[in-house]
């Protein structure tokens, strides 16, 4: 693989490299304006929290190729089914973009993991993960989705996929779609009167 091919496979064309570096640069003019704007007071929030959220929203971490790859992976992990929509329907990729800025310890494993994935895909199929066929993508995922039967050399992919799976689950099941899918019916005023009778009976706990 020559340098141009590698860069392309990794989504790092000259243009996107520039975008990426710009996005990573702290305190670009645009961001500073956003931070310096007088924050609207929000009940129950300290001023620094409101400002922090604002500046995180204004910053950009993942580039287009990375976001596209995250979206494909998230929908492989949590697809649409008879009960609810997919991870991207629930805006999981947008959540992941936010959370890696909020929790910077996610940044290197995510960026590095995505690079590992693209490089692996290129070596295997001469295409970045995003540009590989759906069948090729699944072949790769099959090799990194099952930690207990990992093949030698694939460990970094497993570690990345574990993280990607966790972030996807967090993002999906804390969305409106996901909470409904799960059947969580609380967070509303009610009167707790104990375990329903049919449930007590189901588990034989009537006399405990």
């Amino acid at each position: 693989m020559n340098r141009r091919e590698s860069l392309k496979a990794l989504g790092l064309t000259a243009i996107s490299t520039g975008v990426l570096l710009q996005a990573c640069k702290p305190g670009t003019d645009k961001n500073e304006t956003a931070v310096n704007e007088e924050s609207v007071p929000e009940a129950g929030r300290e001023k620094f929290e409101v400002e922090r959220n604002k500046s995180l929203h204004a910053a950009k971490f993942f580039n287009e190729n990375e976001m596209a790859t995250i979206t494909i992976l998230a929908d492989i992990i949590i697809p649409k089914d008879g009960q609810s929509g997919s991870a991207s329907d629930a805006k999981v990729p947008e959540f992941i973009e936010f959370i890696v800025k909020d929790i910077p310890s996610h940044q290197v494993p995510m960026r590095g993991g995505l690079k590992w994935l693209d490089l692996h895909s290129f070596n295997r199929f001469k295409k970045s993960f995003k540009d590989a066929s759906a069948q090729q993508q699944i072949e790769i995922v099959d090799d990194i989705a099952y930690p207990n039967k990992v093949k030698p050399g694939m460990e970094p992919g497993v570690a990345f996929f574990n993280k990607m799976r966790d972030l996807t689950a967090s993002g999906f099941f804390t969305s409106e779609i996901g909470v409904k899918d799960l059947g969580y019916v609380g967070n509303t005023p009610n009167k707790w009167t104990g375990v329903p009778t049919d449930v007590l009976k189901q588990y034989g706990l009537e006399n405990v």
Binding site: G44, T188, W192, Y203
Partner: protein
């Protein structure tokens, strides 16, 4: 401000209270209701749960979905502050570790606490094994005040007649959840005692109180309650006390030191306004510290004068010493029999529905004092971290087709696993008695100041075999309970290499003991009414006066002690022993 100046107020208050948490809040409530003109200084912001609580918000209303990035107990938690405060460091000594949680807000840490409201028992005040120093008071001395706190604040529980777990005046407790019934059944088999929880949540209307409504069972006490259905010092004490017209509260007021006159009596305090950075001095006939155990010790040690060269109330040299936090260790996992469970609302209350008071005799064990167990689990509202590490669970049980699954995975099958596992989790956490030792302490670090120029605290705290062996016993008990239930443990199983999962001191946020009471001024800072031996118009009403904490959470005892101290102050004023 170009020129340095100190703003002096001519008003002399009957009392100045530093801190607005359980201790300061109760003292302010009692004194203001008795007609005393009181000034309360709070180092943090104003907070009224009715307005500021994030109660009933959904996870998607937080961009981090409730993650604990900014607030240690999650984005919706009530607490302003945490383990680290910007510009307000603390230091550690000789490689030891102490974690110090500071809530800077009206009501302090009572805004986010677990509402678990336990009385200390007779043996906690006067020990039977002779290992630790006795309190200058007995359970019987404090009992009338525990009773009054129960009536004033409201608490649920059941009368059990356990000698060292004294009963209170209880409302009906919430019924156990499904996972708690499994725990109760397993505990019976293993000989671990399980009883209904004891929490300061109104499961019934509080007689005579029109400002607070009963609990509506969202299980979110830690976010603060908009109907004041649980106890926090802001909603139950400080805000009602302000309504008497006798209590003035100044927020964002960081107290520097207690001021004294030539005779050594307290005359007021100096503080810095955190917003304007202006310096202030205010006058009071009495000064009452309720800034939290360590912050009150810091204030006293920083209040040096000709009359008190070793720091105020510190002729005994005990201020800062005997620091102790509850021990803590935990285990978690899931119950396979709860897979695919029926959905219904089991949020319940935000405190414990059941718990295990200490049930064994330490004479037969290799550690001297006991612990209680708190249990968690159920179909709670999803938050950041939901479904995390599914690969450590879904390979351990059969799928719907009865065949074992390969751990991990993706796709429709994985999506269904998340649904199947919802509400199967169980957590157990022990909270035990740690020994109060002179060698565990906080002191002033003379080399470091905070951003207001106030010298900071340096901590020195080591666990010993009394605590480590207790944590070992906790782990064995939790594993036995899991085994008996047929549960599967998924958290790391701890061993001697990390003290059996014993949390670092401070982590349980029950730190007490730094300005201890006693009858002998040579080895205690306060008398039995929490009045300084060396300065009769100075009182401490937080957890600093505790001589030796039991395995019980500190708040109910802080409230009872503070009420007793405030009533003592009123009685002494009547007798003209205090001006």
């Amino acid at each position: 401000m170009n020129e340095f100046q100190i703003k002096n107020s001519d008003v002399e208050y009957d009392a100045i209270i530093v801190g607005s948490g359980a201790g300061g809040g109760m003292a302010g409530y009692v004194l203001a209701n008795a007609g005393q003109k009181v000034l309360m200084l709070e180092a943090g912001a104003y907070f009224d749960p009715r307005v500021d609580a994030h109660q009933l918000k959904w996870p998607w209303e937080s961009p981090r979905r409730g993650a604990s990035t900014v607030r240690p107990f999650g984005d919706f938690d009530a607490s302003y502050g945490g383990w680290e405060l910007e510009g307000e460091p603390y230091t550690q000594k000789e490689g030891t570790e102490f974690a110090w949680f500071r809530s800077r807000m009206l009501g302090g840490r009572t805004n986010h606490w677990g509402r678990i409201s336990l009385r200390m028992g007779p043996d906690d005040f006067k020990c039977k094994d002779g290992l630790t120093d006795d309190w200058p008071i007995t359970y019987q001395d404090l009992k009338p005040f525990y009773d009054k706190v129960d009536r004033l604040v409201g608490i649920y529980g059941t009368v059990e007649g356990i000698e060292n777990e004294p009963d209170g005046i209880f409302m009906a407790p919430p019924k156990p959840r499904l996972n708690e019934l499994f725990i109760t059944r397993a505990a019976k088999k293993t000989g671990v005692k399980v009883i209904p929880g004891r929490g300061s949540v109104l499961t019934e209307a509080l007689p005579g109180n029109k400002d607070r409504s009963p609990c509506f069972y969202c299980g979110q006490c830690g976010r603060g309650c908009k109907v004041y259905g649980d106890f926090s010092a802001s909603s139950c004490l400080v805000i009602p006390a302000v309504k008497t017209g006798n209590l003035t509260v100044i927020t964002n007021a960081m107290v520097r030191e207690v001021l004294t006159d030539k005779a050594g009596l307290a005359t007021g305090v100096s503080y810095v306004d955190k917003n304007s950075l202006e310096e202030h001095q205010v006058k009071g006939k009495i000064v009452i510290l309720g800034a939290s155990a360590c912050e009150s010790a810091r204030l006293l040690l920083n209040s040096k004068s000709a009359a008190h060269p070793n720091g105020l109330a510190n002729n005994s040299n005990v201020v800062g010493k005997y620091l102790h936090d509850s021990t803590g260790a935990s285990l978690s996992g899931f119950l396979p029999q709860l897979l695919d469970r029926k959905r219904y609302n089991e949020d319940g209350v935000g405190s414990v529905h059941i718990y295990s008071p200490w049930w064994l005799d330490n004479k037969n064990l290799d550690f001297p004092r006991g612990y209680h167990i708190e249990y968690g689990g159920g179909m709670g509202m999803p938050s950041y971290g939901f479904g995390g590490g599914i690969q450590n669970r879904n390979g351990k049980v059969a799928g719907k087709d009865g065949k074992m699954k390969e751990a991990g995975g993706y796709g429709a099958g994985l999506k269904d696993d998340y649904r199947r596992f919802f509400g199967t989790g169980i957590g157990m956490a022990g909270r035990g008695t740690a020994i109060a030792r002179e060698t565990n302490y906080c002191e002033i670090d003379n080399n470091v100041v905070d951003k207001y120029g106030i010298p900071v605290l340096r901590f020195h705290y080591k666990w010993a075999k009394e605590e480590i062996n207790q944590a070992k016993h906790m782990q064995e008990t939790f594993q036995e309970l899991f085994h008996t239930m047929g549960g599967i443990v998924t958290s790391p199983v701890h061993g001697p290499e990390n003290n059996y999962g014993l949390e670092a001191p401070g982590k349980i946020i029950h730190e007490v003991g730094t300005v201890r009471m006693g009858d002998d001024p040579k080895n205690s800072a306060l008398n039995k009414y929490c009045q300084a031996h060396d300065c009769k118009n100075l009182f401490v009403v937080d957890a600093a006066p505790f001589v030796q904490q039991g395995d019980k959470n500190a708040t109910w005892t802080i409230l009872a002690l503070s009420m007793r101290t405030a009533e003592y102050i009123l009685a002494e004023k009547k007798k003209l022993n205090l001006s």
